[in-house]
């Protein structure tokens, strides 16, 4: 009996050590909520120029990309590449912005910059026709498939109310830095898609979210791994018929950008920029309640730049 118990115990011990060795670097990822970054502003809003120029100015005012990316770190950039449409249709993040972010990461000494999205339309066509595949390759990043289940690892979301576990893309779990690059646009089920909604593209089973109170699930997932930086592209903005849009007639050229480490604050600001009351977007309220961030912009130090 003793011998058997010993074997059992050592097996269990072996398993836990093995698990730690296997997923140790992922544990590190959860701990990487860096409040201590010492940034001069909570949120930067900028308008009036091309996406790459605006990003350069905005990130500079936050102290530069080096505040976020340290030499030899791996970075995952998550734009919205959901649809097989060209950049002017405003269905996907502007390729110039994605390109500039990757360049800045590489200049800060990043080891690798990965880009992916779990797309809605056929992924290879989305990657190509959004212009993002070419932009990533130009800037020296790596564009990675996101539409195969093998890339997704099961995780728990302990603070989630409806969404308590999900399968998340392995690069989100293993990369040192996570930069979320959504596009601001209208959306059927949630009214607006911005930072938090963009994270739906890093999980495998989106149908579960739709079946189980979409807005709550979006807020639930936002409690998991927070992006280190959110860059909201509001250069071309789809004002209606989102998230796919019907034609260029749906698009307004707003030439704006919002940057923040706080998803709730940035989504609140972006909703106002869009011309909507943030209180009408349920997931912003849910996320605020869960403590993901702050929707009270009055308490924040906001830097506004008009070029």
């Amino acid at each position: 009996m003793k011998r058997r118990e010993f074997l059992k115990k050592s097996f269990k011990l072996g398993c836990s050590v093995g698990a730690y060795l296997a997923f140790g670097d992922q544990v590190k990822a959860f701990a990487a909520d860096k409040k201590t970054r010492d940034l001069p502003f909570d949120l930067v809003a900028i308008k009036g120029e091309e996406p790459d120029i605006m990003f350069n100015r905005a990130i500079e005012s936050l102290g530069g990309m080096k505040k976020f990316v340290k030499p030899n770190q791996t970075v995952v950039v998550k734009p919205n590449i959901g649809w097989d449409v060209e950049p002017e249709r405003a269905g996907n993040t502007h390729p110039l912005l994605v390109k500039q972010i990757i360049k800045q990461c590489m200049d800060s000494g990043a080891k690798d910059v990965y880009v992916f999205d779990h797309t809605c339309d056929k992924w290879s066509r989305c990657y190509a026709n959004s212009g993002i595949e070419a932009a990533v390759k130009d800037a020296g990043g790596k564009i990675v498939p996101g539409n195969l289940e093998k890339y997704y690892q099961a995780v728990d979301i302990p603070r989630g109310k409806r969404l308590t576990h999900a399968k998340v893309h392995e690069l989100i779990l293993s990369s040192d830095v996570f930069i979320n690059v959504p596009i601001l646009k209208s959306h059927g089920g949630t009214k607006l898609t911005i930072s938090m909604k963009n994270l739906m593209g890093v999980v495998w089973d989106r149908g579960f979210w739709h079946r189980n109170s979409l807005n709550q699930c979006i807020a639930d997932y936002a409690t998991f791994r927070k992006p280190d930086l959110n860059v909201i592209d509001a250069y071309y903005v789809m004002k209606r018929n989102g998230p796919r849009g019907v034609s260029k007639a749906d698009v307004l050229k707003m030439k704006s950008q919002i940057i923040s480490t706080d998803m709730v604050a940035s989504d609140t600001a972006a909703a106002k920029l869009f011309g909507m009351d943030p209180a009408d977007i349920p997931y912003i309220g849910f996320a605020d309640q869960l403590g993901v961030g702050s929707r009270d912009l009055s308490g924040l130090n906001i830097h506004r730049i008009v070029l």
Binding site: A45, K47, G48, D84, V85, D112, Y114, C120, D121, K122, S124, R125, N129, K142, I143, V144, P145, N147, L148, H187, G188, G189, T190, R206, G207, F208, W209, H210, R211, N212, S213, L214, N215, Q216, K239, R240, N241, P243, R244, V246, S247, A249, D250, V251, L252, K253, M254, K255, T268, A269, K272, L273, G275, P282, L297, I302, R304, V306
Partner: protein, 520 residues
């Protein structure tokens, strides 16, 4: 002696066509040029014939060239152009290398050959293409590629992808294998097995017993202007030609050649040490005794007998075409949905030989072989499977490759207005009504906003509202709908495809003041 070069030419041409057709089916990354690749399928006999019957033009007249070749030199098609023929030659070549295989003259299987040909023709004119689906050599080759070769190639590609990812390289993309289709897989395995066995053992026996194209061209080659015959004055009766004849149509004992079975491989020219076998113009004074008319007479008698016994009930085929309904599924579609450019259910079902080229190249993977959705007689003909995927709004891939006229070439903008079917909403299944939570997955995916969310004051939620007039039937809403096990929104087929209305475009007039400070 000059004739010896013919075999080399044949090998080069047939391998070219073999690999060209194969590359078409295995083009996962869609890297082949959009135009100019049509020549590959242009000369494929059955697809060309079907397309010609829809559009009489030079651009679809490939099969006429095949007939002309045949009336000149015999069944050149079988050895030069037919990819299934080339596959058999490859097997036979291997068999020859391993076993030192030699062939012998064999008797013709007249009854089987003409019986099958007549069945195919008869069923076709009775309204069913099933004979061609099962027996067209090009389509069989296509299915072997799609269901046996492609998964192997994809598997190799994906293993390579995984290996490269281990060393942090993402230079090649993995390919998703969408849908598992057992019926075409087993059918293709059976055909491949049959062909393998026949070609290893008897050379081109398949082409001279089962293939209806072979039989038809064989029939024509009885009237060819040039035929391969013995030159009795030079022949030394060494039997070299008979031993290499994959068709078993050279009989040295009687020094006759059954030219209707000759596949024009020219192996005989290659081995003849003298000039004992050659092409002879039929008006030339024959160096060989004329064929006795026995074969012809047999054929006529057998045809008559066959026609008399053929079950005429086959005439009611059109009515028997029932569409499979699973009683437990509330989403009951009346019919399978045909791809954009197929014009109508009738045109598609009458022209498609289920070669599965469209299935192979569909980037979205929405085109899948049917099982019984078109009825038993439409087995394996592709349909739009919205469980697996949906039709990409901007894509016209299938229409540009279909060789048989089942799917016609479409301009990208025209295709965006083709209405395959109409959206139907089942309120009882929709989560917005059953759970009272936001969803909108259907409206999200809809490219035209035929499904949009409109506030329903009764439940105080934004719920799907449909507009059939601008629906293109792409199935994006049905695919995206998260409800289980039955969808709350689906597409019902249009038996004849219609033109959808263009979605309204009102330009956003809002002014953007770039100098104005932010509203926060």
């Amino acid at each position: 002696m000059k004739l010896k070069i013919l075999k080399k030419v044949r090998v080069v041409v047939s391998l070219t066509f073999f690999f060209a057709v194969a590359s078409l089916f295995l083009d996962f990354n869609f890297s082949l040029p959009e135009n100019g690749y049509d020549f590959v399928a242009y000369l494929q006999f059955i697809p060309s014939l079907l397309k010609f019957s829809l559009f009489t033009s030079l651009a679809t007249a490939g099969f006429i060239f095949v007939i002309l070749f045949t009336l000149m030199f015999g069944r050149v098609y079988c050895s030069f152009l037919c990819p299934l023929g080339c596959l058999q030659d490859i097997f036979a070549y291997i068999s020859k290398k391993i076993n030192k295989k030699e062939y012998l003259y064999s008797l013709s299987h007249l009854k089987t050959r003409y019986g099958l040909l007549i069945t195919v023709v008869f069923t076709y004119f009775s309204g069913s293409i099933i004979g061609l689906i099962l027996l067209d050599p090009y389509s069989n080759f296509g299915r072997i590629l799609t269901h046996i070769a492609a998964p192997v190639v994809i598997g190799i590609n994906n293993s390579l992808v995984s290996a490269l990812e281990k060393i942090n390289l993402y230079s090649i993309y993995p390919v998703e294998l969408k849908g598992t289709n057992l019926s075409p897989f087993f059918f293709s395995m059976t055909v491949l097995g049959l062909i393998l066995w026949m070609s290893l053992k008897y050379g081109r026996l398949y082409c001279n017993t089962i293939c209806p194209v072979g039989t038809f061209l064989g029939f024509l080659s009885r009237y060819s202007l040039f035929k391969i015959k013995f030159n009795l004055s030079d022949c030394i009766k060494c039997k070299a030609c008979e031993r290499v004849c994959k068709s078993g149509c050279i009989d040295l004992n009687t020094q006759k050649i059954d030219f209707s079975r000759c596949v024009a491989c020219y192996n005989c020219f290659n081995v003849c040490p003298v000039s004992g076998i050659e092409y002879q113009w039929i008006f030339q004074e024959s160096k060989e005794q004329a064929f006795k008319d026995k074969g012809k007479r047999d054929f006529i008698i057998q045809t008559a007998a066959f026609l008399l016994t053929f079950p005429f009930s086959a005439g009611g085929v059109e009515k028997q075409r029932k569409f499979y309904k699973k009683s437990t599924v509330p989403v009951v579609r009346k019919t399978g949905i045909t791809p954009p450019g197929s014009l109508s259910l009738k045109n598609f079902l009458n022209k498609c030989t289920a070669c599965h080229l469209c299935v192979s190249i569909c980037p979205a993977g929405v085109l899948q072989p049917s099982f019984l959705e078109y009825g038993l007689l439409g087995i394996m003909q592709p349909r739009m499977d919205y469980k697996i995927s949906f039709c990409n709004y901007n894509c016209v891939a299938c229409s540009r490759v279909c060789p048989s006229g089942a799917i016609l070439k479409q301009d990208r903008e025209e295709k965006k207005l083709i209405q395959l079917g109409k959206v139907k909403f089942i309120q009882e299944n929709c989560v917005v009504y059953t759970q009272r939570t936001d969803c909108g997955a259907c409206a999200e995916h809809c490219p035209t906003k035929a499904v949009r969310l409109v506030l329903n004051k009764k439940i105080d939620k934004r719920a799907p509202q449909i507009d059939e007039s601008i629906c293109v039937g792409c199935g994006a809403c049905e695919f995206a709908c998260p409800t289980k096990p039955h969808k709350a929104i689906y597409v019902e087929n249009n038996p004849v495809h219609l033109k959808a209305k263009k979605p309204k475009e009102n330009k956003i007039t809002e002014d953007v003041d770039l100098k104005k400070i932010f509203p926060f």
